[in-house]
C-alpha cells in the first residue's frame, strides 16, 4: 500500500496550521521561562513585563497552539477519511489567515498594552482578564466565526464524502467544542457566576471534548502508523467516548467545591472525577494492545514514539496527577496551589502536546510520500528531553505544592502571612529552582524538535535513495 496521497488543498492548509502551532508552542515556552525566572528573581522585568503578562501569554499561547494543531489535524485527516477534497477549502484557508492575523494582533496588544482601565472597553479591546480566556471580546467573536467556517468545512465534507466512525465522532465533538466557547463570552459582576460558566468552557474542553478529540487522533494515528484494524479501533473509540463523556461531563463537579456553589457538588464531583482516569487507562491499554498485536511494526517511528508518550502521559498527567487532588477532603488544602500547576503541566503535555506533535510527524511523512520514516537521533533527543523536562517540572511543582498544602494551608490557615512563609520555605524554593532548570531542558528539547520537523523528511528521502 503506497503512502503517497494526492496533494489535497486541505492538507496544505493543515501544514499551515501546524507551522503556526509550532511558532506559538515556542512562544509559550519562552514566556514560561520568563515567568519561571521571575519566581526566582522578582525584580526581573518588574513594572516592564510583569509576571501576570508573561503568564497570560504563556497559557494563552498554550491554548491557541493546541487549537491550531487540532484544527490542522482535522484538516489533515478529512480528505483521507472521506476520500474527497475538503468542501469550501478556499473559505477555510481565508479563515486561517484571518485567525492568524487576529492572534498576532491579540498577542501584540497583550505584550505592548498589557492592562487597561477598569471599563468595558478594556475587556473588549485589551484583555478579558479571565485565566485562559483572556482573549478580548472582539477576538472571541472573530475566533467563533473562523471556528464556524472550520465546522462547516468538516460537516460539508463528511456529508459529501465517505462517513466513518472517526469522522462521526469528530463532527459531534466539534459541535460541542465550538458551542461551549460561547459560555465564556459574557460579563458579570458576580464572581461566582463568572467562575461557574468559566468552567463550562475550561473543564468541558480539557476534560471532555479535547480528550475525545485525542481519542479521534489516536484512532486515526494507529490506523495510519501501524495499519491497525479500523473496526477494532473505532470500537475502542466509541468505548472511549462513552467513558470520557460519562465521567468528564459530571466530573465538572470537582471545580464547584469552593467557588460559592452548593455542597452537593462535593459528592458529584468526587464520584465522577474519580472515574475520569478510567478511560485514560483504557486508552493506554488500547494503544499497548494494538502495538503488541502488530509486533511493534510501524511506518513512522517518531510519530509512534509520541503516541506512546501520549498514552502514558495522558494516564499519568491527567489521570494520576488529577486524581491525587480531586477528592474534596484533599482539594480543600491543594486548591489554588502549585499542586494544580504540577498537574496542569503534565496533563496538557501528556494528553495534548504529545499527540499533536505525533500528528505533525504523520503529516510530514505522508506529505512527502515517505514509505517508512524512522526516528533520527534528533527525534529521539527531542522527545526524550521534552518528556524529561516536563516530568521534572511536574515533580518539582508538586513538591512545592506539598509545602503550600502543609505550611500555608494546614499550619498557617491560608493567611497572607502563611502564603509568604510557604513561598520562602526551602523545599518550596528548591522546587521552583528545579522547575526553571527543567524548563530549560524542555526548551532545548523543543529546539531539537523544530530542527527535526524541518529536516526529517529530507533525511528520510535521502536514506531511501541511498
Amino acid at each position: 500500500m503506497s503512502i503517497a496521497t494526492p496533494k489535497y488543498l486541505s492538507q496544505s492548509l493543515a501544514m499551515k496550521y501546524f507551522f503556526v502551532a509550532v511558532v506559538l508552542f515556542g512562544a509559550q515556552l519562552v514566556m514560561g521561562l520568563i515567568a519561571a525566572y521571575q519566581f526566582i528573581d522578582p525584580e526581573f522585568l518588574f513594572n516592564v513585563f510583569n509576571f501576570s503578562t508573561a503568564r497570560m501569554v504563556h497559557i494563552n499561547a498554550l491554548v491557541v497552539w493546541m487549537l491550531y494543531a487540532m484544527i490542522g489535524s482535522a484538516y489533515w485527516m478529512l480528505p483521507e477519511e472521506t476520500g474527497i477534497e475538503t468542501v469550501g477549502i478556499k473559505l477555510g484557508t481565508l479563515g486561517f489567515y484571518v485567525l492568524t492575523l487576529a492572534v498576532t494582533v491579540v498577542v501584540l496588544v497583550y505584550i505592548l498594552v498589557q492592562v487597561g482601565p477598569g471599563t468595558e472597553a478594556s475587556i473588549w479591546l485589551i484583555n478579558e482578564g479571565r485565566e485562559y480566556l483572556e482573549a478580548p471580546r472582539w477576538a472571541d467573536i472573530g475566533i467563533t466565526v473562523v471556528v464556524l467556517i472550520f465546522v462547516y468545512n468538516v460537516f460539508a465534507t463528511v456529508m459529501k464524502g465517505k462517513r466513518t466512525g472517526i469522522t462521526t465522532v469528530l463532527m459531534a465533538d466539534l459541535i460541542a467544542l465550538a458551542g461551549l466557547y460561547l459560555a465564556g463570552m459574557f460579563y458579570t459582576s458576580n464572581i461566582t457566576m463568572d467562575q461557574f460558566w468559566w468552567w463550562w468552557v475550561i473543564h468541558l474542553w480539557v476534560e471532555a471534548t479535547w480528550e475525545v478529540f485525542v481519542g479521534v487522533l489516536i484512532a486515526y494515528g494507529l490506523i495510519k502508523v501501524m495499519h491497525a484494524n479500523r473496526q477494532i479501533v473505532e470500537m475502542w473509540l466509541w468505548i472511549e467516548v462513552t467513558m470520557l463523556f460519562g465521567s468528564g461531563i459530571l466530573g465538572m463537579g470537582h471545580h464547584y467545591f469552593w467557588i460559592g456553589t452548593p455542597e452537593y457538588w462535593w459528592e458529584i464531583g468526587a464520584l465522577f472525577s474519580a472515574l475520569e482516569p478510567v478511560p485514560l487507562v483504557g486508552m493506554l491499554v488500547h494503544v499497548i494492545y494494538d502495538m503488541g498485536k502488530h509486533n511493534g511494526k510501524v511506518n513512522n517511528g517518531p510519530a509512534f514514539n509520541w503516541f506512546i508518550v501520549n498514552a502514558f502521559g495522558n494516564f499519568l498527567g491527567a489521570g494520576v496527577w488529577g486524581f491525587m487532588h480531586t477528592l474534596p477532603q484533599i482539594n480543600i488544602y491543594t486548591h489554588g496551589s502549585q499542586f494544580t500547576a504540577g498537574h496542569g503541566h503534565l496533563a496538557f503535555y501528556g494528553a495534548y502536546a504529545t499527540i499533536l506533535i505525533g500528528m505533525m510527524y504523520v503529516a510530514i511523512q505522508r506529505r512527502n510520500g515517505i514509505e517508512e520514516m524512522r526516528s533520527t537521533s534528533t527525534s529521539k533527543w527531542a522527545v526524550s528531553l521534552i518528556t524529561i523536562g516536563v516530568l521534572g517540572m511536574t515533580v518539582a511543582l508538586t513538591l512545592s505544592g506539598y509545602v503550600q498544602a502543609f505550611v500555608e494551608r494546614a499550619e498557617y490557615g491560608a493567611t497572607w502571612d502563611g502564603y509568604f512563609i510557604a513561598q520562602g520555605a526551602t523545599w518550596f524554593t528548591q522546587g521552583i529552582d528545579w522547575r526553571l532548570a527543567m524548563g530549560v531542558v524542555t526548551f532545548i528539547g523543543f529546539l531539537l524538535l523544530v530542527k527535526d520537523l524541518l529536516t526529517i523528511a529530507k533525511r528520510s528521502k535521502a536514506l531511501a535513495n541511498s
Partner: protein, 221 residues
C-alpha cells in the same frame, strides 16, 4: 460505518452497541448537568439589599454587603467556617450605600480586576495563578487588620483605606521581595476593587480556605 461492516457475534464487540451507548451516556450526563446547573444558578444568583436587611442568608450576598461587618466563623452545623454578616460597618466613611451605588462599586471593581489581569498573579476563589496570595478572604486577612503590617505601612487606620492606598501604589509598599507592580489603578478603581474584595469575602465557599487564620486564634473551636 464502512460498507463491508459485519455485525459481530458478541454485543461487547459491536460498534453499533458502543456508538449507541456513547450517545445515551453522553445525553444522560448532559441532561443531568443541565438540571443541576438550573438549581445551582438559582442558588448562586446574587442576593438583594432586602435579603441583608431581613437577615436572609444567600450564598452570594448583594453588593450592599459593603455596609455591613463580615466575619468568617466556625459553624457546628456545617462543620467548617462560613461568612457571617453582622451589624452595620463604615466603608470609606459611610454605611448607607444604596443598592445601586453598591452595585456600581462592585461592577467597577470586578471590571478593574479583569482589566488589570489580577487573576494571572492571584487566585480568586482559588482559581488563577499562584504568584501572589489568594484573594478569596483578603478582606478578612490579619495582614490588613488593625495591628497588621499593611495598615502600618500605608499609614491608615482601616482595612478599606489601607487596601485603597496600597492598590494605587503597590510597588511602594512592599512587604516581601515579590512586590505587586504598579498597574495605574485610580482612586475610583481602587474603591471598586475594595468593594469587590469585601463582597467576595462574604461568599459562602463551603469552608474554603479551611482553618482560615487558625494560627492567630480564629473562632474555630
Amino acid at each position: 460505518m464502512s460498507e463491508d461492516y459485519k455485525e459481530p457475534e458478541s454485543v461487547w464487540t459491536s460498534n453499533r452497541f458502543w456508538s449507541r451507548s456513547a450517545g445515551w451516556v453522553t445525553g444522560f450526563s448532559a441532561v443531568l448537568l443541565i438540571l443541576l446547573t438550573m438549581d445551582t444558578l438559582d442558588q448562586i444568583t446574587i442576593g438583594s439589599a432586602k435579603d441583608l436587611e431581613n437577615k436572609v442568608t444567600k450564598r452570594v450576598p448583594s453588593a450592599s454587603v459593603i455596609n455591613y461587618k463580615v466575619t468568617y466563623e466556625y459553624s457546628d452545623v456545617r462543620g467548617h467556617e462560613v461568612p457571617v454578616i453582622g451589624e452595620k460597618e463604615l466603608f470609606f466613611g459611610r454605611s448607607d450605600y444604596s443598592e445601586a451605588e453598591a452595585n456600581a462599586l462592585l461592577d467597577k471593581g470586578k471590571l478593574t480586576s479583569q482589566a488589570k489581569n489580577c487573576m494571572n498573579c492571584h487566585t480568586l476563589l482559588g482559581n488563577g495563578a499562584y504568584y501572589a496570595p489568594d484573594l478569596t478572604k483578603a478582606w478578612l486577612d490579619p495582614a490588613w487588620q488593625a495591628g497588621g503590617v499593611m495598615q502600618g505601612m500605608t499609614g491608615t487606620t482601616s482595612v478599606d483605606e489601607a487596601m485603597s492606598v496600597f492598590l494605587q501604589n503597590p510597588d511602594k509598599y512592599a512587604s516581601h521581595a515579590r512586590r505587586m507592580p504598579n498597574l495605574g489603578i485610580t482612586p475610583e478603581e481602587a474603591k471598586g476593587l475594595v468593594a469587590f474584595l469585601k463582597q467576595m469575602s462574604s461568599i459562602d465557599t463551603n469552608g474554603f480556605p479551611r482553618n482560615f487564620n487558625k494560627i492567630q486564634g480564629s473562632t474555630q473551636k
